[in-house]
């Protein structure tokens, strides 16, 4: 299907972006477009206006502060993957970004775009949950735990624009992804992080309507942070995704395997 005509806007600042979105009935933010443009080509989405936010000054940059690293929402996956700051502070996050899609997707796709889109199999949501990140928007800060609500559903209000994501540093983390054979999204991906104080977070993407944490695994790993701990926690497949490419039981099994691999990587 040919893409339908639309108006393209490139606002100068966040206020202008918000005003444009509010002014047009069926407008969308364009933040790299690696999901949205494909959906438009398939006729699944037909916005009348696209408001390109990737050049907004407020959405740029990677900054490190005491205890956190702040990544502007318009930062591309490729920029995260090669950022010396990210690679030094949270290497697992740089690795995750480097495994998204293909070089073209990484060159155009952005952190904010991925997080706002909340694809059930996107990689970044697992990192946000696993690292207890904070989503900063034009109007507030939202804990990652309260951000992902369902399939393509987030806590964002219709016109709300993500400006940055703040990732706490100091945890040791690893990302294990099993690629979907066709789309190369995560068939299942598991992000494990162990904070300096010993708190463990295990976040999963690709296996449910949106990224989620596995508290039973977290508890087991807090009792003893070793790969074997994962073997003792059966993953209930109830509610997990079953589709053409993997049944829920297989996805549940992959969660165990990938969690164990992530833990092994952290321990080594």
């Amino acid at each position: 299907m040919a893409m339908r005509p639309f108006a393209y806007h490139r606002p100068a600042d966040v206020a202008a972006a918000l005003a444009l979105l509010r002014a047009e009935a069926d407008a969308r933010y364009l933040a790299g477009g690696q999901s949205l443009l494909g959906a438009m080509k398939l006729g699944l989405s037909a916005p009348t206006g696209l408001i390109d936010v990737v050049r907004l000054p407020a959405l740029q940059g990677i900054e490190r502060s005491a205890g956190a690293i702040r990544i502007g929402a318009a930062t591309t996956h490729a920029a995260v993957a090669r950022s010396p700051l990210v690679r030094e502070a949270i290497p697992a996050l740089a690795h995750l970004a480097d495994q998204i899609g293909d070089p073209a997707v990484r060159a155009w796709g952005t952190l904010g775009g991925s997080v706002a889109n909340a694809d059930p199999a996107a990689c970044y949501p697992a990192a946000l949950l696993g690292l207890a990140a904070t989503v900063h928007t034009d109007r507030r800060a939202i804990d990652a735990d309260a951000f992902f609500l369902g399939i393509y559903q987030t806590a964002l209000e219709p016109d709300e624009l993500i400006t940055a994501v703040e990732f706490p540093t100091g945890a040791r983390a690893a990302w294990a992804k099993f690629k979907h054979p066709a789309s190369r999204f995560a068939l299942v991906g598991v992000f494990v992080a162990r904070a300096a104080g010993g708190a463990v977070r295990v976040a999963v993407t690709g296996a449910g309507p949106c990224a989620f944490r596995v508290t039973a695994l977290e508890a087991a790993l807090e009792r003893g942070f070793a790969a074997a701990a994962c073997d003792d926690v059966p993953i209930d497949s109830t509610g997990l995704t079953s589709d053409l490419h993997a049944q829920a039981a297989y996805r549940a099994h992959l969660i165990s395997v990938l969690a164990r691999r992530a833990v092994t990587e952290i321990v080594q």
Binding site: R4, A182, H245, A246
Partner: protein, 776 residues
């Protein structure tokens, strides 16, 4: 930059791994594909496709669409029928074993009354822009009366299944039986070992990089239509469009530029081509249509889709006594001649492959379902047949305790048996299969496997190796080619009705011409893809080089001979006193000479022209030994191909780089079938649920190891003077069984061999994991 003429053959001639002459334009983005072309005032076609897999069309309301901006016409199948457009293909005259002709609903360019697969076109909209045409298409309201949909072979052949067509009892469109059932039964009765396998060759989408496209321009003065399209078979497309429009074939000119891959899918004309031509003629305007990827998944020709019960009988020494196969072949909603013959006749020609098996019993049935029609896809019947016999060989070795290489060796046809007539009455002209096997084993370091398996095991991986020794048939059973040569303006132009589609055939032809003309390759211009300049079968069935290349050589030789007579007159010498060297005719032993191009410029019309039609004597039988090694991750079931090597007998090689590219590309597509590709219809709704690359899994480069492809050129083909054999499909045919056998071997070594035997392609990680963990 030109080399000195006397160096030309050495630098550019056949056998040299020169760079492709096509590539300087293609890699700079200067290819001329259909979608690159544009005509002033062109209109755009959009097609409404059926949202149901099987339904009666109660009504079509197009009033809203017709009134929308930019819309020029909205046409239904009834409009085409009223203008005299009939079924696209008359039911095939071919009779089955019971003497029936093929039972199939007639395929119409736009469906009338009934839609029979999801994605079948039923309304055409023509508008000033594609977006306007799409918008209007979306405003059409169709009232459907849904009918039970049969998604697959199981549903179509179940007891009490809905009858899709009155003349296809039990939804069987055609039946063919080959061989001798009585002798086969006797052989099975006397056998020491019998193995039985149920094998599925799943449905695949050919997915060339460039989707289909067509632009049709009418000539206002003559009414002639120029059809610019992506096609492997321009003449067949021309004929179909002409017949559909009830025009003399000369009233259609099909022009083909660059084609971004065909793989069998761009043969003949499709309904979209017919509708576009109809609209252009009706409106007197240029009309164009370009397929979206979803159009291709929904409505272009699919490949494979056959389920077989295959049995092999062996004596105590491992000598195969007989082969018995029962296959159900899903040909989709409309049985086409190609779709049926590929599975019921062409595949069976190679069913006994390189093995000396005299007794066969094949019972093959084409089954109608509510799915897109199947047709040619790289290999076309031979991959299915070779997969069957190569899986059987491994299963027999396992069941009877033979070494799988020894078992194959025990049954190979020997070189002293050439020419060899197989039980399908096909004659292999040449082949030394044991020599190829031995080289294949050496190339793969077959005997060094255990050390590699131990190294894999140390990393927690299960390693396996698989082998396929096999042959295939090439030619399309079309042996004649016409070539026109013109020596003019310092160039040698050679027209062939075979068709480039990315395979580098122009380079290969140019090299063959250099052999004869002894001029630098930049003096040769290969022209294809214009039915006004020449007609023929086109390119399919790996036939181009051995039929078209032979014709190029013969026509070139005739051109030099004709020029030599002209040179003799020019030099006032006897023709037999002349020699032709490096583009010059010279009186032997003197310095008196005339150049070919100089001579041509002196002729009436300032050119020397030769039009020659050449035939080869029969098909070619390329063959190979392919070895694949895989690692299975026992925790996830993921399969990684870690080594792939092959040795191939493709006869004489004109360009080793192109041949290796054909082999490697074929291997990738064969691995795609083995490991990931699967076009799936929902079993209940018969909707295509893999209609984009988000769900249709193509093989990616990270699936692949370095592919090593070697050629043995010591066994020339005897049916053509070049000694070449077709290579376009060989890799695809060998890779699928080699890879599957390797995965089964890995699982067998892990103690799961019995369950692994029942795996069906594609071997996804979950399927493999479940074999290793049967209780989950």
């Amino acid at each position: 930059m030109s080399a000195a003429p006397n160096d030309a053959v050495g630098r550019y001639g056949s056998g040299r791994a020169i760079n492709r002459i096509e590539d300087p334009l293609l890699v700079r983005g200067r290819g001329a594909f259909v979608d690159d072309a544009a005509e002033p005032g062109q209109l755009h076609l959009s097609l409404l496709r059926s949202s149901h897999a099987h339904a009666r069309i109660r009504s079509i309301d197009r009033a809203g669409a017709a009134a929308m901006p930019g819309v020029v016409a909205v046409l239904t199948g009834a409009d085409l029928a009223a203008a005299g457009v009939g079924p696209m293909h008359a039911p095939a005259p071919k009779k089955d074993v019971d003497g029936r002709s093929m039972g199939t609903p007639p395929r119409l360019a736009l469906a009338i009354d009934t839609v029979r697969f999801a994605g079948e076109a039923l309304v055409a909209v023509v508008a000033a822009t594609r977006a306007q045409a799409d918008d209007a298409r979306d405003a059409i309201v169709v009232d459907y009366d849904e009918l039970p949909a049969l998604a697959d072979l199981g549903a179509a052949t179940a007891a009490g299944a809905t009858q899709l067509w009155p003349d296809a009892e039990g939804n069987i469109a055609a039946v063919m039986r080959h061989g001798d059932p009585v002798a086969t039964a006797a052989a099975f009765g006397a056998a020491t070992h019998v193995v039985v396998l149920d094998l599925v060759n799943q449905r695949l989408a050919p997915t060339p990089l460039e989707p289909r496209g067509v632009i049709v321009s009418p000539d206002p003065a003559t009414g002639r239509l120029t059809v610019r399209m992506a096609s492997q078979m321009p003449t067949a497309a021309r004929n179909t469009i002409a017949d559909q429009l009830r025009l003399p074939r000369e009233q259609i000119r099909v022009v083909v530029g660059d084609v971004g891959g065909g793989f069998g899918m761009k043969t003949d004309a499709y309904p979209e081509d017919v509708v576009t031509a109809f609209c252009a003629r009706l409106l007197g305007r240029t009309v164009r249509w370009t397929a979206e990827r979803s159009d291709e998944f929904l409505a272009s020709g699919h490949g494979r889709d056959i389920a077989s019960r295959a049995e092999l009988a062996l004596d105590g020494d491992g000598k195969v006594l007989a082969l018995r196969v029962r296959s159900l072949c899903n040909v989709g909603a409309y049985a086409t001649n190609a779709g049926v013959i590929i599975q019921l006749l062409i595949g069976p020609w190679v069913s006994t492959s390189v093995y000396d098996i005299a007794t066969i019993d094949l019972d093959l049935r084409a089954v109608l379902t509510n799915s897109a029609p199947t047709g040619a896809y790289r290999g076309a019947g031979r991959p299915e047949a070779i997969y069957t016999i190569e899986r059987l060989m491994d299963a027999a070795a396992k069941a009877a305790g033979f070494d799988r290489v020894a078992l194959r060796r025990r049954n190979l046809i020997g070189p002293q048996q050439m020419p060899y007539r197989n039980p399908m009455n096909q004659v292999y002209d040449s082949g030394h299969f044991e020599a190829i096997l031995d080289q294949g084993l050496a190339a793969a370091d077959w005997d060094g496997f255990e050390a590699r398996a131990a190294e894999s095991a140390a990393r927690g991986r299960l390693r396996g190796r698989g082998i396929a020794t096999f042959l295939e048939w090439t030619s399309g059973n079309a042996f004649e080619e016409r070539v026109a040569v013109a020596v003019e303006d310092g160039m040698i132009e050679i027209f062939s009705a075979t068709q480039a589609m990315g395979q580098g055939i122009a380079t290969s032809y140019a090299q063959l011409a250099v052999d004869v003309f002894q001029v630098p390759i930049d003096r040769i211009r290969i022209v294809q893809g214009d039915t006004d300049r020449g007609t023929g079968f086109g390119s399919a069935g790996s036939r181009s080089l051995f039929t078209g290349g032979t014709a190029v050589q013969v026509a070139s030789t005739q051109t030099v001979a004709r020029a030599q007579d002209l040179a003799a007159a020019h030099l006032e010498a006897a023709s037999h006193d002349l020699e032709y060297v490096g583009g010059d005719f010279r009186i032997v032993g003197t310095d008196r000479k005339v150049g070919l191009f100089e001579l041509a410029a002196q002729q009436a019309g300032r050119a020397i022209r030769i039009d020659a039609t050449t035939s080869v004597e029969g098909p070619s039988w390329p063959n190979g030994c392919h070895v694949c090694e895989v690692e299975v991750d026992p925790e996830t079931g993921a399969v990684a191909v870690v080594a792939y090597s092959s040795v191939n007998d493709v006869g004489r090689v004109v360009n080793p780089t192109i041949v290796r590219g054909q082999l490697a590309g074929g291997v990738v597509q064969g691995l795609g079938q083995a490991l990931c590709e699967h076009l799936v219809y929902d079993p209940d709704s018969a909707q295509n649920v893999t209609a984009s690359f988000l769900d249709y899994a193509m093989p990616r480069v990270d699936l692949l190891p370095a592919i090593r492809s070697e050629m043995d050129q010591s066994i020339p083909c005897r049916t053509n003077p070049l000694g070449v054999k077709g290579v376009g499909e060989l890799g695809t045919i060998g890779a699928t069984p080699a890879a599957v056998n390797a995965v089964i071997d890995a699982l067998d070594r892990a103690g799961a061999g019995a369950r692994a035997m029942h795996l069906q392609m594609p071997l996804t990680s979950e399927k493999v994991w479940r074999v290793l963990h049967p209780d989950t």
